[in-house]
């Protein structure tokens, strides 16, 4: 029997299997980091600390009015889906 015959995956040399595992783990880690970065960059919902106006008109006659508004809450007391 020839030694050149392809070996089943289970019989790959240990170094090859380790390399495959490392590549897999690396791809997974990169995917997690990339996803987290995208969520952080594109998340449109700011935290409370981020609610700071870029520009505040000055003047004694300027009224600064804050409006907090909701719609279609359906009377839910807890979050939809919870």
């Amino acid at each position: 029997m020839s030694n050149d015959a392809p070996q089943p995956a289970a019989q790959r040399p240990p170094s090859q299997a380790r390399r495959d595992l490392l590549w897999g783990a690396g791809f997974f880690l990169a995917f997690v980091v990339f996803s987290a970065a995208m969520l952080w960059i594109f998340n449109p919902a700011p935290k409370s600390a981020a609610l700071k106006p870029n520009q505040v008109p000055k003047g004694k006659d300027i009224l600064a009015l804050t409006v907090v508004h909701t719609n279609d809450t359906w009377g839910y007391l807890s979050v939809c889906g919870s």
Binding site: P57, L63, T66, V68, H69, T73, W74, L77
Partner: protein, 250 residues
């Protein structure tokens, strides 16, 4: 816990930041399919909104579908704030189910709030064209207020028409599932359209609009900034609201 307990925290933060804060709801908020709002016919919502310090609410299709005129009158009697709609009428009459608008006092100005409900026709209620209703009622409101805000469920097409055709509307706060993803400014009139939430994952009160609006001495909107806030776990539960929920077993 989340939900109204976090919302109450956001509202309190904004009230502490600015002495002049309006807390408003653009309808479809009394009840739908869940306990306790469904079982109490929206009474739980009114209690929560009273605790959170809401100052006005308009009526939506769900409210007019799942409640009778008497039940809505009961809720209006319990509310510490006006419930408004300029175009929702009791079937077979010329009688509105709610007052069409409310006037709120803020320092040196008066804010006129007009409620608009989306079209509907059932055995208890009928709703007239929101654009025509707004055009008809606005002159009366503008005689009493120099800042005009619509709580509108008319839909984005009708909202844009209103904003383009009627001068003097400062802001339209939108409801319904007709998505307006970002604030929209109508160039010809300067009216700003804002929409906090629509039906998608995490909706129904988890997304709240916060607008910082600046008006000159004539009540003209000169600048605004706006955020859609998602009430994630960076917002702690408000202790008063949590206590109330626990006491009620909700």
């Amino acid at each position: 816990m989340g939900g109204v307990a976090r919302r109450a925290t956001l509202i309190r933060q904004q009230q502490q930041r600015s002495g002049t804060t309006l807390v408003l709801d653009v309808g479809n908020s009394l009840l739908y399919d869940r306990h306790p709002a469904k079982a109490t016919k929206g009474q739980s919502t009114i209690e929560a909104y009273n605790l959170m310090g809401y100052q006005a609410m308009t009526l939506g299709k769900l409210d007019l579908t799942y409640l009778t005129p008497d039940e809505i009158r009961q809720r209006m009697g319990e509310a510490h704030f006006p419930i408004i709609s300029a175009n929702a009428y009791i079937t077979g009459t010329q009688e509105r189910i709610a007052q069409p608008y409310a006037i709120l006092d803020v320092p040196n100005h008066k804010v006129g709030l007009v409620g608009l409900t989306e079209p509907l026709n059932n055995s208890n209620f009928y709703v007239t064209d929101p654009v025509e209703a707004a055009k008809s009622i606005l002159p009366e409101v503008q005689r009493q207020a120099d800042i005009i805000i619509l709580l509108s469920r008319a839909g984005q097409e009708a909202n844009r028409r209103l904003a383009e055709e009627v001068k003097g509307i400062d802001v339209i706060l939108c409801g319904t599932n007709d998505v307006l993803d970002k604030p929209l400014v109508i160039e010809s009139t300067g009216t700003v359209l804002l929409h906090a939430d629509w039906t998608q994952l995490g909706h129904a009160g988890e997304r709240v609009g916060v607008g910082y609006l600046y008006f000159d001495k004539r009540g003209k909107l000169v600048h605004y900034e706006w955020w859609r806030v998602e009430l994630d776990n960076s917002y702690a539960d408000d202790p008063t609201m949590r206590q109330w929920l626990e006491a009620k077993g909700w």
